[in-house]
């Protein structure tokens, strides 16, 4: 019983490593010519598609309305997010060593705040892609923006865009739950009289 908080915290920190192995977000575009959809995966450190050509295909479609090319190498977040995750994991293990209730809480809040910041950052990128359109675009629809939804579905001209968290986000959620367990089961002070 006594070790539950510490074990929970170690799990909270280690489960995060799965974020490197699974995408955190998935965006699917469906149109009559794309009955099975074009699906793009956003990872902590890369953007991939169903096939090797997916990103190129999305860029080709986007260029009709003047959207910028999605070039993963030019997105700095994809370069440094992995270090943040690494640092958070190390902090989590450090917290487990310290085994203090307030540290568990602090770590959990840190992860939540970082998560919210990441989603906000994602929103800003989506806003930029959707609104910052080339003035020489072949197709211009007055008043139209092409920002994909953050969460849910949205009709963008002929495309139905679906955007939802993917496995990676789930693991972050699980990590938060474990941290919460650590915080919840940890008694405020080490009490000697427990025995």
């Amino acid at each position: 019983m006594k070790n539950i908080p510490r074990i929970s915290m170690v799990l909270a920190a280690t489960v995060m490593v799965l974020v490197f192995f699974f995408p955190i977000w998935r965006i699917t575009l469906i149109a009559p010519q794309y009955p099975t959809g074009i699906t793009m995966y956003i990872w902590i450190n890369q953007i991939t598609g169903e096939t090797t050509g997916t990103l190129q295909n999305i860029n080709i479609l986007n260029h009709y309305v003047g959207m910028q090319m999605i070039v993963p190498d030019s997105i700095p977040e994809l370069q440094y997010f992995k270090f943040i995750i690494g640092a958070v994991m190390l902090l989590g293990l450090f917290a487990a060593i310290m085994n203090k209730k307030w540290i568990y809480l602090a770590w959990m809040i840190l992860v939540i705040v970082l998560g919210i910041l990441a989603v906000y950052d994602f929103y800003l990128w989506e806003y930029d892609y959707g609104h910052n359109l080339s003035p020489t675009a072949p197709i211009k629809v007055p008043g139209m923006a092409y920002q994909p939804p953050l969460f849910g579905k949205k009709l963008l001209l002929n495309f139905e865009a679906y955007s939802y968290p993917f496995w990676g986000s789930l693991f972050i959620g699980i990590s938060i739950i474990f941290a919460f367990f650590a915080f919840w089961f940890k008694r405020p002070k080490d009490v000697q009289y427990e025995k």
Partner: protein, 655 residues
């Protein structure tokens, strides 16, 4: 009253039972095409897929067409032996080598018999082979791309008709010559036919992994006409059977002169024995010249190789290699039943089919039950090998295929019908008319160890009044029958591309999952590939100018080129950078004397353009690729010969 009412109701219910009990049980469903819903049997709803692929030869079109069954929808025409401007086949630099022969570039042939590759006697959906009859060749088509990937020429042959029937594991596809010719070719009197002419049977080996073909050896036979073939299966695996007519060895007015003998032959060739003889050094190396052309799916280009020698076996020197099975009246088709025991010879000038027994054939060989010998080849005793005779009641039997229930189906050209009969008892069970004059028939897997059955396709030579008239030249046709019941039922009738001689059918599931959607650009090894727009360039080497061009929705790079000169040989090496399914781009340029390019995603193709006059000439995308397809165009400026205008090229803004 209440009581009476309920009694009445009771009677009513009983009456209803009686009525439903008396009603005819859906009348005999298969007695007439009109008595059941035939249309629903061939209706494949929009967006749904057919159950079978059918591959039909194009005959004198030189191509192969692909249909879906049971709908009869045309899915694709695969160019094989003939030019196809639509696809740039034989016009672009990459596919020209496929049509090279020892006679030079040949833009046409007469393609008769498609044959699917097999594993353990069952069609496996990897490749399909087809023969070129006029300039003897065999082609291999890859069924992941539905493109011709190899064509091999056959030496010492004339009219490659009994071809390309496969052995159980595609160890070999065979190629027997329909016209005997002097071997080696020489200038002799036609009247010296019997003395100088020979009939060669070629065994083309296929690499089990790559499918690459090679003329492994030839068997040199008397100068008969080797008409059709089928390889043994099961117990008879290791043998291939070839029909022949003109055992009279006539060289003129064959319609009479080659029809005089009561019996011609089926040549039974023991190819396993042939392998031993070749290994044992019994084969002669005959000097010759033939072409072997292979297309590489990564380089997207074909190369030709000239081969100068072929291994030839002479039956007189190789006992046990070949036996002749006497078969009445100029046999045409030779078909082996799914067990491999029965060899059906269709005497095309008679009413009956002779069925030989493989077991009896082996026994006759063991007992030396020979009637005579022809040039060292034993002729087996007809009665010793005969299993039975099918008294068909029809006239002019040509070809037989089998279903999975022990039934055989034979086409009759003259009486224009298909006759269903029982293998083993030889009794006729059913018959159905064809419109008109059926040649081959096809049951999916019907010439293999595992007929998939269900449907039968008749391929007819004459259509006359069957469709809206189109002037003197009418198309040929195919007719689909349901053979799942006791009675043959005609379902559908559709016109075909060219003349379909033979066909092959296979369940769609064996091909569909491995059908390629596009070529991976990263794997493109074409010597003139351009993998991104920033690598596009134009290079002059004397009067040869190479344009390294790319296409992507919706522009060419470069799309403005200046500095060409009259008399230049301009090669447009166009790489389609797309990596999406069904996004080919086309390339057509004004004044080109060849055709367009139709470039699949990830592929590179080359068009030769030789500008004849000064001016500025447009080029454009020919395949409606996108919403901005009409904008996908460019200009090529041609200056006078010796002009000092330097090569310049750009897209978007001038360099």
């Amino acid at each position: 009253m209440k009581m009476k009412n309920s009694t009445l109701a009771g009677w009513g219910i009983i009456a209803l039972f009686l009525i439903s009990g008396c009603s005819p049980k859906g009348s005999d469903e298969k007695s007439s095409p009109f008595s059941s819903d035939v249309a629903s049997k061939v209706y494949v709803a929009p967006g749904q897929h057919d159950e079978f692929y059918a591959f039909l030869s194009g005959g004198f079109s030189g191509q192969m067409s692909v249909y879906g069954l049971p709908s009869g929808r045309l899915l694709k025409v695969i160019p094989v032996f003939s030019l196809d401007a639509e696809k740039g086949y034989g016009f672009n630099e990459e596919t020209k080598p496929l049509l090279q022969t020892s006679y030079g570039f040949i833009p046409w042939d007469d393609a008769h018999h498609p044959e699917l590759s097999q594993t353990e006697g069952i069609p496996d959906g990897r490749w399909i082979f087809i023969n070129g009859n006029n300039t003897p060749r065999v082609a291999r088509i890859d069924l992941s791309t539905f493109e011709t990937v190899e064509i091999i020429e056959l030496p010492n042959s004339g009219g490659n008709h009994s071809s390309p029937f496969t052995t159980e594991n595609t160890e070999y596809v065979v190629a027997g010559t329909r016209f005997s010719v002097p071997v080696p070719q020489k200038d002799v009197a036609v009247e010296s036919y019997k003395e100088n002419f020979k009939g060669a049977l070629s065994f083309i080996s296929c690499d089990p992994v790559t499918g690459k073909m090679d003329v492994a050896f030839q068997v040199l036979l008397p100068a008969f006409n080797y008409d059709l073939a089928h390889s043994g299966k099961g117990a008879s695996h290791g043998w291939t059977f070839f029909t022949c007519y003109n055992a009279e060895e006539s060289n003129t007015l064959l319609e009479a002169n080659a029809s005089q003998f009561d019996k011609d032959f089926i040549a039974a060739v023991n190819w396993k024995k042939a392998e031993e003889y070749v290994k044992g050094g019994k084969a002669h190396d005959f000097p010759t010249s033939f072409y072997h052309n292979i297309y590489d799916d990564n380089a997207h280009m074909a190369t030709s190789e000239q081969i100068k020698s072929v291994k030839v076996l002479i039956p007189a020197e190789c006992p046990g290699l070949v036996y002749y099975l006497p078969t009445p009246k100029s046999p045409h088709g030779v078909d082996v039943d799914p067990t491999g025991e029965y060899i059906v010879g269709a005497g095309k000038l008679s009413a009956d089919m002779s069925v030989h027994s493989f077991t009896k054939m082996l026994k006759a060989i063991e007992d030396k039950a020979f009637e005579k010998e022809i040039q060292g080849i034993p002729v087996l005793n007809y009665d010793a090998i005969l299993a039975g005779v099918v008294k068909s009641g029809g006239l002019g039997p040509l070809h037989t295929e089998f279903d999975a229930n022990g039934n055989a189906y034979t086409t009759f050209f003259i009486s224009s019908e298909i006759v269903k009969w029982k293998v083993g008892t030889w009794e006729v069970i059913d018959r159905s008319p064809c419109y008109y004059s059926v040649g081959h028939l096809m049951i999916p897997g019907g010439d293999s160890r595992k007929p998939f059955g269900k449907y039968m396709l008749a391929m007819n030579k004459i259509t006359k009044d069957r469709y809206l008239p189109t002037g003197p030249e009418m198309n040929q046709s195919a007719q689909l029958y349901d053979i799942s019941g006791d009675k043959i039922q005609l379902l559908l009738d559709f016109p075909t591309v060219g003349e379909p001689h033979y066909g092959q059918g296979i369940p769609a599931d064996l091909i569909k999952p491995k059908s390629k959607q596009f070529f991976n650009l990263a794997e493109n090894t074409h010597p003139y590939v351009t993998k991104s727009e920033d690598q596009t360039k134009v290079v002059r080497e004397g009067n040869v100018v190479r344009v390294y061009m790319t296409t992507i929705r919706s522009h060419f790079a470069p799309d403005n080129i200046e500095g060409f000169q009259v008399g230049d040989k301009v090669y447009f090496h166009v790489t389609n950078l797309e990596q999406d399914w069904d996004v080919p781009h086309g390339f057509g340029i004004m004044g080109a004397t060849n055709a367009e390019l139709l470039i699949m995603p990830g592929q590179t193709e080359t068009l030769l353009w030789e500008p004849k006059s000064e001016g500025v000439f447009p080029f454009y995308c020919t395949d409606f690729c996108s919403a901005l397809h009409q904008e996908m165009q460019g200009y090529a400026r041609v200056s006078k010969k010796g002009s000092d205008l330097k090569l310049k090229w750009w897209t978007g803004s001038a360099k």
